[in-house]
């Protein structure tokens, strides 16, 4: 049997260029432009094996499914 603990359907990380995004329990990565946001989100997605979602306002969230 494969017993493993996975954290799914939770926001693992936030990548944003918006200053108004308030912190909670999730790591927030602030970026300055779109290109940086894309690259950082791509990298984090590969590392966390998570999916990147665009929630608007220049904010991406990473969620594992």
């Amino acid at each position: 049997m494969n017993d493993e603990t996975r954290i799914i359907h939770q926001i693992l990380a936030v990548v944003t260029s918006d200053d108004q995004v308030v912190g909670g329990g999730t790591p927030i990565f602030r970026v300055h432009d779109e290109k940086e946001r894309e690259e950082l989100a791509n990298l984090l997605a590969r590392i966390l094996q998570a999916m990147v979602h665009d929630v608007g306002n220049g904010t991406y969230i990473l969620v594992k499914h």
Partner: protein
């Protein structure tokens, strides 16, 4: 009845039972049983089943009533084998890029058990017919049983209960749409470009209320996604969840929208593959068989 007659009956029973198992043993693109070791174990169990079925009536004729306990033991054995097959498939799930899902696995395990019982039945009929009457009676019974079994194991496929058509992929901002059904939010621009370039979409429209319920079943949907991935490949790796094949339902019409990023970008192949996916027994919709269901049907 002399011993010779009994031996002939048993031999014929084992022979026809094994032939039946070979006929039922169809390995196709669904990769089950896996060739060749799976083949060998399925075939061996088939021979055992044939022997058990063939021995039953001649043994009873000789007055050996322990044959009855023999059959009960056999049923127990095959149930355990079904559990073993299920465990094997479940253990393999994590190594698949697109998993089969528990419903599909349960269906495969159940079919495996049922086929062995069919073999017992055929062998029983042939051996019984030969021992109690003449050789030709046994053979005729065997042929009849063959056709009955072939009918019983016939499986309905998705193409018979739903209309399958290609559907274009589009993006509304980060939202991916197959036709007019929302699938998911794709954040990365690079991923969106890949999806538009390499992705395929299809719509499955149910033909009646039973079909609508079958398509709503998650196990059935996962089975469709698995079969599509096996035939066309999936353009993803373990750390790229974005290109996993997905199915979403249009709640107004009961239609399903399928999205996949295949290695082989062949839309015709996709449609034919979806058509050939078997309808799982556990997923089959039955609302039209109830009076209330028929009344509610539009």
């Amino acid at each position: 009845m002399p011993v010779q007659g009994g031996n002939l009956a048993i031999t014929l029973g084992v022979f026809t039972g094994t032939l039946m198992r070979i006929y039922l043993l169809r390995s196709d693109y669904r990769q089950y049983p896996s060739y060749p070791h799976g083949f060998i174990s399925h075939l061996s169990l088939g021979v055992v089943a044939a022997f058990i079925g063939a021995v039953a009536i001649p043994a009873l004729i000789e007055g050996e009533f322990t044959a009855a306990t023999f059959l009960a033991l056999a049923a127990q054995q095959f149930r355990e084998v079904r559990a073993m097959e299920r465990t094997t498939l479940e253990n393999l799930e994590t190594s698949e890029l697109v998993s089969r899902g528990p419903a599909y696995i349960e269906g495969i395990a159940r079919v495996f058990e049922a086929r062995n019982y069919l073999v017992i039945g055929v062998a029983l009929l042939v051996a019984g017919g030969t021992a109690l009457a003449e050789v030709w009676v046994g053979l005729v019974l065997g042929i009849v049983a063959f056709f009955l079994a072939a009918l019983l194991i016939g499986q309905e496929s998705i193409g018979q209960m739903a209309t399958i058509e290609p559907s274009p992929l589009s993006f509304d901002g980060p939202g991916l749409y197959v036709g007019d059904v929302f699938i998911m939010n794709v954040g990365l621009k690079e991923s969106r470009e890949t999806i538009l370039e390499h992705g395929l979409g299809a719509t499955l429209a149910p033909k009646d209320d039973n079909a609508r319920d079958t398509l709503a079943n998650d196990g059935q949907r996962q089975a469709i996604l698995h079969d599509v991935s096996v035939v066309l490949g999936v353009r993803r790796d373990v750390d790229e969840p974005e290109f996993t094949p997905l199915m979403r339902r249009d709640l107004d019409t009961g239609r399903l929208a399928l999205f996949t990023v295949p290695v082989e970008p062949d839309i015709e192949s996709l449609l034919r593959t979806i058509e050939r996916v078997p309808v799982l027994e556990s997923s089959r919709g039955r609302s039209l068989e109830a009076r209330a269901g028929r009344k509610a049907a539009d």
